[in-house]
Symmetry: C2
Subunit: 258 residues, 2 copies
DNA sequence: ACAGTCGTTCTGTTGAGCGGAACACACGCG
DNA sequence: CGCGTGTGTTCCGCTCAACAGAACGACTGT
């Protein structure tokens, strides 16, 4: 369910094709029909039909010989985010956290076995990577994901781990389910999680869970990430974790009483 | 093209149906199969097929007997917004404008004949309406839209006005094309536009165009809106316009040199 | 003028998206 | 307890529409 390459085919093929086109349009910053047709191994006419339909619906705009994603998706995205009220309470606190540490911070929420960034704040000197709002991340290979998993009830955790494909993304990625479970226990006790180049070489991160203040349920997670050159020593191991955990706690309190 | 009810049918019907379902899911905050099927006058099985497909693609999540929009749309929306670099430069300035006037402000960009809010900032006492990020608005019935139109080249203006259906939304809405043109001339000279309950009864707004600092091209528009009870006298007619126009100018300058 | 793009249009065929009916399950009520 | 009614889900054929491929203009740089 969580991964894209599910074996069972989608029942509505045309819809799947449309979204493949849209996703490709997002990756490249807009492109033409032929480029899309080739990269999706579909005929030009089919791609053209879909683009025309999406254009009429307002989800794609045409600029000369190029097609781009339409801004209407902002509306759908905003509507989807309104269900997760965590966003509104986390936004200001995340901004001040970024101001304090001078790196990058992101707020994650789980959806259907994967993590999705609902907010991201960047300091001026923060490292620009491919992650942004709406980025889908693995729960077991990020500091936010592990902080989240560490506080998940056992049955939910089992369900998530069953879906996870342990395809090591970097040489440091955990590939063993048991090793992950023992690390999650440590994280739960410690209160925050580290990520040392597991997902992206050259990047380290510190994540903390956002817990409901009354029933202790985990609502999401927040993390700060930066380059290995700056994330070192007690700054990486103590001071940043302290600040992240504190911000996470504040967000958790605000989320429960609002 | 700009409006939804275009006579010519979409070539890919399944895609259109999928998006109708998604839009409906957005309006109601998630709902069930039967409710969707009835309101779209489609069979339950068809709706179910589409929902399953969208769920596998990650754009819809299922929670018990309810379906909701998935957070993946955040990614598509963010990608679409990246093309309009206006967003990044306008965000901080809009926030400080809101802090100064204590109402609501929104940044608009044109896309295919309609206006779309790419950012919105709310003060604590701001009026909550149905507008939010991604909201599609008519260019001729909003202060942002008119401020934008007033600085559009003649040929582009003609093209937009041809598409506009003058369906008066409130008793105050302008319904005559010529009357609109004369008002646009005044706006262009004055530098800002007013909106007195044209779109929403009880709401007034002041909008100013965001112009490129070098070639004077109009990039978008920004507006402040609030209730008629608070938007009165010189505050509405002079002070707020002054602040909005100043913010618009700052954004225009930052947008050109960045 | 030519060959190389690009996007667009056309047409036939087949498979897939569709509606309708039947199913399984959860309620609430007498 | 059944019943009635409400879900969401599954099944199954029929037909229409989504697809591939080829042909068409319009450009662009040889």
């Amino acid at each position: 369910m969580a991964r894209d390459d599910t074996p069972n085919a989608a029942s509505v093929g045309a819809t799947e094709r449309s979204f493949r086109i849209l996703e490709r349009l997002g990756e490249r910053q807009g492109c033409g029909v032929s480029e899309l047709a080739e990269s999706l191994s579909t005929s030009k006419s089919t791609v053209h039909n879909h683009l025309q339909t999406l254009k009429e619906l307002g989800y794609v705009v045409q600029e000369g010989d190029e097609y781009r994603l339409g801004l209407q998706f902002l509306g759908l995205g905003d509507r989807a985010r309104q269900h997760h009220d965590l966003y509104h309470v986390a936004k200001p606190e995340t901004d001040s956290l970024v101001e304090a540490v001078g790196e990058r911070a992101q707020v994650m929420v789980e959806e259907d076995g994967v993590g999705i960034y609902v907010y991201q704040s960047l300091a001026d000197q923060a490292v620009r990577t491919d992650s942004h709002i709406g980025t889908v991340v693995d729960l077991h290979a990020t500091s936010v994901g592990k902080a989240y998993l560490a506080h998940l009830p056992d049955d939910r955790l089992d369900a998530v781990l069953d879906q996870v494909a342990f395809d090591d993304q970097t040489p440091s990625t955990l590939t063993d389910a048991e090793a992950l479970r023992t690390e999650l226990d440590e994280i739960a006790e410690r209160g925050y999680a580290f990520n040392d180049e597991e997902r992206t070489v050259g990047m380290r991160a510190v994540g903390a869970p956002i817990l409901s203040a009354d029933d202790g349920r985990v609502l999401g997670a927040i993390s700060v990430s930066g380059p290995t050159t700056r994330m070192t020593g007690t700054w990486y191991h103590e001071e940043v974790p302290e600040m992240v955990a504190q911000s996470a706690q504040i967000i958790g309190i605000r989320a429960t009483y609002s």
